[in-house]
């Protein structure tokens, strides 16, 4: 077929779509601005401007860090996994998935900076690393993971396909991905001071949660990009992702139950205290909410073919999954922090002048923390936007032309 006009590249969409695009850019700019302002404010006042205390020493920043490391799993594992089993069904998602993963790791690395009391001294970790510290291991694996995402993207964006290199990379990616999530879990899991975290299941649990949130996020972003551009992945990818998600959610839930049941039946005080907090205490709304809206509801959508066939519903379920995993991170961090081993009056020192002593610290993030997190989100969204515009949309345009030229071949290949 002949087209008179040059193939419509998504970088120059029809005039009526420019409005939303600029609105999106403006939103990103505002988000980044809020983040920078909040962080600047924190730099001048120290971490005293956060809601953290000498008891709850880690809070929202660390939750976001855990969460971002987690969502980075989805993309790379989907690509590497289908590559290793020789499936090409997800191929159209490859670039997008790698961009989402790479962005998430980069954002995770950035998200740890505001948690540091002295970010200007972070180089000490390079010149004087203490090799026993899981934090040092995490820095190393995150660097490796980021590099892998970069190499994957490079391979995927070569004009000629490089199936062999992609396969080799897939073989490297999977173990490193497992390591990234395990090491992040071990940051918490190795601490004998926190019985709630000090369990062998934490690493598998981090991996399963990572798979849920990562895959769900790829689904959401794929759907969004499809809506706002001419990029059109084959419709079966959404169904494929949904089926994967059903499995991931089920495994994630199983591991959580296995842990909670073990802790619960032990009936020892230091196991029960955090559980009480989850079941009926401070964290209960978030805990039951997470199970109902973050696990059960989305699972039904993923598992029931009639429901998952409705893409809108599927995307809503994926959003719930992502939120559910975020809530789960909070529910892992807070009980561990709230329950000191020695908890006698008058409690821990407040940490700030006039803070007195507090026996039962309640952690509530301040606007500064929310502001910084908004900034990190905007940073991630900016990277994804740039990546999608640079590498996904042009490919879509090229393939679009390709499909029109050889529609039959394409159809034959996918069957």
């Amino acid at each position: 077929m002949t087209t008179l006009a040059p193939p419509a590249t998504p970088t120059s969409p029809p005039a009526e779509r420019r409005g939303p695009r600029y609105a999106w850019y403006a939103t990103l700019a505002v988000g980044l601005g809020i983040g920078l302002f909040s962080y600047g404010y924190q730099l001048t006042g120290g971490l005293a401007v956060t809601g953290l205390t000498n008891t709850v020493t880690w809070g929202l920043y660390i939750v976001v860090f855990m969460f971002l490391v987690g969502v980075s799993a989805g993309g790379l594992i989907v690509v590497a996994g289908s590559e290793l089993v020789g499936s090409h069904r997800m191929e159209s998602l490859n670039r997008l998935a790698v961009i989402v993963s790479g962005t998430a790791v980069a954002a995770a690395a950035v998200s740890i900076i505001p948690d540091l009391g002295r970010p200007f001294m972070a180089w000490q970790m390079m010149v004087s690393p203490q090799l026993m510290s899981p934090l040092v291991w995490d820095m190393a694996v995150i660097t490796v993971y980021l590099t892998i995402a970069g190499i994957d993207l490079w391979i995927l964006t070569r004009p000629k396909p490089m199936p062999r290199s992609l396969r080799i990379m897939a073989m490297i990616t999977l173990p490193v991905a497992v390591l990234v999530h395990s090491v992040t879990a071990w940051i918490f899991g190795f601490l004998i001071a926190r019985p709630f975290w000090n369990t062998a299941i934490l690493a598998p649990l981090f991996i399963s949660s990572a798979l849920v949130s990562g895959t769900a996020l790829v689904l959401i972003i794929a759907w969004t990009v499809r809506r706002v551009s001419s990029w059109e992945p084959p419709s079966h990818v959404f169904q494929d992702l949904a089926k994967l998600l059903a499995w991931f959610v089920a495994v994630d839930f199983f591991l959580l139950v296995a842990e909670l049941v073990t802790a619960f039946t032990s009936q020892t005080e230091y196991h029960l205290a955090p559980l009480e907090m989850l079941f009926s205490g401070r964290q209960a709304p978030l805990f039951w909410g997470q199970l109902g809206f973050g696990v059960l509801l989305p699972f039904l959508v993923y598992a029931i073919p009639k429901l998952r066939a409705r893409t809108g519903l599927l995307v809503a379920a994926a959003v719930l999954s992502v939120l559910g995993v975020f809530a789960k991170r909070v529910n892992i961090l807070m009980p561990g922090m709230y329950e000191p081993q020695i908890n006698l009056p008058p409690g821990a020192s407040g940490g700030v002048p006039g803070g007195g002593f507090v026996l039962d610290q309640l952690y509530v993030p301040t606007w500064v923390e929310y502001g910084v997190v908004i900034g990190i989100g905007a940073f991630a969204a900016t990277l994804i936007t740039i990546g999608v515009r640079r590498w996904v949309l042009p490919q879509a345009a090229a393939e679009g032309a390709d499909v029109e030229d050889a529609g039959d071949d394409e159809a034959a290949r996918t069957h």
Binding site: G46, N54, T55, Q124, Q130, S133, L135, I187, P345, P353
Partner: protein, 259 residues
Amino acid sequence: MPDATDVLGSLLAGGDPNEGQAAMVERTSAIEALPAASREWGEIDARSDAPRWGMLVDTERCIGCWSCAVICRSENDVALGMWWNRILTAGDDLDTPKVGEHGQLEMEWMPLACQHCSDAPCEKVCPTAATYTNDEGIVLVDADKCIGCRYCMAACPYGVRVFNWGEPEKAPGVEEGMVQARPVGTVEKCSLCVHRIGEGQEPSCVVSCPAQARIFGDLNAPDSRINRLLHDRGGDQLLKEKGTQPKVHYLPPRRRRSL
């Protein structure tokens, strides 16, 4: 040369980066200037060639007066809102002491500071080796290396570390301590008054205790008072099951103190 952060920190605080250092030397020699009687009172008893410093808290003698907690703050220039050393009270809250047998109220205190663990969880997780154990078994924090990640605080089972959340503030008119103040964004905790040990003096909290409930000494010296007491009366370590092997020991009360 002072490093960039220190300069930045003190610029924020409006001070001279070298000031603290010079002041520390000056103030440490202030110990030498103490009257002979005070020096003698605080002198460390028997010590071996390779000392391993430890502390013993006799909970039978402790009267919960907070003297040691307060002198610790001035000795070590601990900023407002932070305590290296606290006195915990048995019971559910401060107003209601523990209820014992037959409904009697029981009084019991547990002075709590860093336990100077021989297998210190805080040291193992510190990414920069800012937390370290010195040759004499004292767990210390090198503020110059600390990046303020607070991993050590999450790792310490005893909850004794405190963080400089903001620029350290002093109560107006309060004299500075015997050591340099730590900058904003770093972690700190009991140092067993390492600067005093160097001068042959016991930690401040030991000297100040009106009930003489604190005994300090060399765990490696067979005839040090701490070792003799440990030998005679046993002694507990807090959260022993965690395997941290604290060098701070507690003597349980031999008789109950009831109201």
